[in-house]
Symmetry: C2
Subunit: 458 residues, 2 copies
């Protein structure tokens, strides 16, 4: 089987629909068996709630639970509403703890209560502990279903233990060795076990230099660390160095992708959402976009005030107006290049706050080169393309060089400043930088024009 893409899935939907309408349930079961749970969840999007429930009930228990995890929250809520307590308990038993936690975070309070009521006491305690960790912490994305080994076991005893646990655990390939008090003392992979002889002792073959995260570590830096070391799973310990959970590679890779999306949205002046594009309603999209638009609209009061202040100068040398969009645009672009480069490098951990001098030194040199290039090309453009006087062109070209320098300086410094103050550097991207740089370039423009053009002098 090849994987199905969305248009293939869309083509399957009507066939399944036909079988459903003509109640050919056995055929339906066979057809559904061709798909992975992720694709079944996508297929369900082509059915209404009631039809989806019918299809869902045809799935084998394990596939049903796996599909449930992949569904959109509104669909999950509907299903839970239709489940009896017994059915709900069956599904919950099949879920991994981290999936249950994610489900609970998405559901309204009444549903959460029902979920917790149908969870056994031990899981409930674990869930509550995980829910208690800060939103962006390693603790909040960890799972507690990992294989724990004693250092005194032999390799064949370890395999026996792994075999017994394989069904329940999210990963079996990395096993953790702890003392009786759950202090983490080593890690051993199934690959290590395969290579070792059967009677070797875990304590001797385990890796003792364990790389771990702490529950309150930032989940993005934990995910990047896992990617750096190519880990399948990373142990998470509490302040007493006791093992409390693990983060698996699939969740880490989701974190990296989602954080990139969040940064991109912030850079485009959108309040981040974790819903896919077509799943976000019109009103919600409006709510995510309007705050920054309003803020930036109001902040344009500054540029307006500057222009109003120089109204006389503009009426004397009207041609100056013509170059305002070009100057503001170029400065804005130059500034956002720098800010976005710095923001992304900060996110990826390529640069730290203490690199500030190296960053600024680099940006200044780049800005100088860009400023000179743009100044020369700008001069030629203004004289030959726009047919302006050389004196005006000279003003424009000086302004270009100066504002590009300032734009890149502000563009690189502001994200670092935001980080220093504990804000997300990503908000210091294009739109914000543009507004500041717009004002700066107007001020520089008029200062240079007033100094150079005779008509503007008293």
């Amino acid at each position: 089987m090849n994987r199905w893409n969305e248009s293939q899935l869309e083509a399957f939907a009507p066939k399944l629909h036909d079988m459903l309408v003509s109640r050919r349930f056995r055929e339906l079961r066979g057809a559904l068996a061709m798909f992975e749970s992720q694709d079944i969840a996508l297929l369900f999007e082509h059915f209404d709630d009631r039809e989806m429930l019918l299809l869902y009930r045809l799935l084998p228990k394990e596939t049903a639970a796996e599909t449930f995890v992949e569904m959109e929250p509104d669909r999950q809520e509907y299903l839970i509403g239709m489940f009896s307590d017994v059915q709900l308990r069956e599904v919950l038993e099949e879920l991994y703890i981290d999936d249950t936690v994610e489900l609970i975070e998405e559901m309204p309070a009444g549903v959460v209560k029902r979920i917790l009521r149908n969870t056994d006491r031990e899981s409930r305690e674990t869930i509550n502990r995980i829910l208690h960790y800060p939103k962006d912490s390693a603790g909040s994305i960890m799972t507690t279903e990992y294989v724990r080994l004693d250092k005194d076991l032999t390799v064949s005893e370890a395999f026996e233990r792994i075999r017994r646990n394989a069904v329940d655990k999210e990963t079996v390939y990395t096993c953790y060795v702890t003392e009786k008090d759950r202090r983490l003392i080593g890690v051993v992979t199934v690959r290590d076990l395969l290579v070792a002889s059967d009677d070797a002792v875990i304590g001797e073959i385990m890796e003792q230099n364990v790389i771990y995260a702490e529950t309150h570590d930032d989940k993005e830096s934990v995910a990047l660390m896992m990617s750096k070391y190519d880990f399948l799973a990373l142990p998470v310990v509490d302040t007493g160095n006791r093992l409390v959970g693990i983060v698996t590679y699939d969740d880490a890779s989701d974190v990296i992708r989602d954080e990139a999306t969040e940064d991109i949205e912030k850079m485009a002046a959108i309040v981040p959402t974790d819903k896919p594009y077509l799943k976000t309603g019109v009103l919600e999209t409006w709510r995510k976009r309007i705050p920054w638009l309003l803020l930036l609209l109001l902040s344009a009061t500054f540029t307006g005030a500057i222009l109003a202040h120089y109204e006389e100068a503009l009426s004397k040398v009207a041609v100056l107006t013509v170059f305002i969009p070009m100057l503001m645009g170029t400065a804005g672009n130059a500034g956002s290049q720098s800010s976005v480069a710095v923001i992304r490098a900060l996110s990826l951990g390529e640069i730290k706050l203490r690199d500030v001098f190296r960053i600024v030194f680099k940006e200044c040199r780049v800005a100088l080169l860009c400023g000179i290039t743009l100044g020369i090309v700008g001069f030629a453009k203004v004289v030959f393309l726009d047919g302006a006087e050389p004196l005006v062109a000279f003003v424009v070209c000086l302004t270009l060089a100066a504002t590009v320098l300032l734009a890149k300086l502000f563009g690189s410094l502001l994200p670092l400043l935001a980080k220093r103050l504990g804000f997300d550097p990503a908000v210091m991207a294009s739109p914000f930088i543009t507004t500041i740089v717009d004002a700066i370039s107007l001020l520089v423009y008029f200062a240079i024009a007033t100094a150079i053009i005779p008509q503007l002098q008293l």
Copy 2:
């Protein structure tokens, strides 16, 4: 051991330096043993080439090769230059095929020749085949070191085979079952094998619905597919359905991260680079940033021409100039919100080209809401904050509403159009959209102003 962060590594460097100067090599060996290869490579950055070579020679063979893979290309090139052919061969033998391919892609021609001369014939053929796949294809990031099983093996025979192969293969946890002619017929995980009884036959327990990629599939969509299905590895087949390699989760996760960085750079009008921020020289950074700046500078000719055309109107009602930055800024922001949202959703596969009508319908409704909100707030701002006449405020508020609608329409359509034409949608982000939208908003502004303000009518 906790992982080391960069500032801790920086603190270790002088200590290692002292040991190196006083030639305490045994102590150095012990100290280096505390670090993972990734961190040793980072530590090396604090030493000059000659010192680094001395340290490198102290590493155990396997660690040395692992560290070599993690180093920057300039460092690798220096080391290769210092290696004898025997030493080079030793390092190359320890590398996985995909790492060798990556190395070759980074090295100058002379070094590549030496590398290929010191590779055995079989590997050389594999390397050449992989190098031959298109740059962004699944084939170009795959490795050929995977475990292949026959369908007739029993579980314990399979374990024996995995055990013998464990050292050489990049992953052993997913094994591929092929016919004699290498046609892929199944996949089985070590977890499946652990759960099965020793005498079960592979052909019976393997998963026959294998999800695979083809060599020419786009690497980003392959990486996203692996992340969707939470795969550790994905088989890559040729057109004859023969298994030619696998993509592993760590490479897939690198692809997802790098493609996000590339999108972010393109959205900020930067020509993408794959080097980290501080590793990119000033000249190179200039080269990556100046093309778009120049292009956008020249495209500002349009806005300039529009303003020049309406010079008379502007001199009659000078206050109109004051609101130009606000109008262009707001339209630019509104447009880039839409374009960035669409670009990211396209990258993540959340939307397809055929969703164009749903997307445009959604953006239009959002734009209507945003336009009305901004129009009302804009009117109030212009009258009360800027103290302009209600008639001018009315012109501004109408322009705001109209341009936001147009900006969001263009912002959402242009990335889709780019994709349709086979370009990367990401180039249609903020800077490009802004330039188009700048021109549109000026045209709309003057059209509305001329229609409404009596002084501007003939």
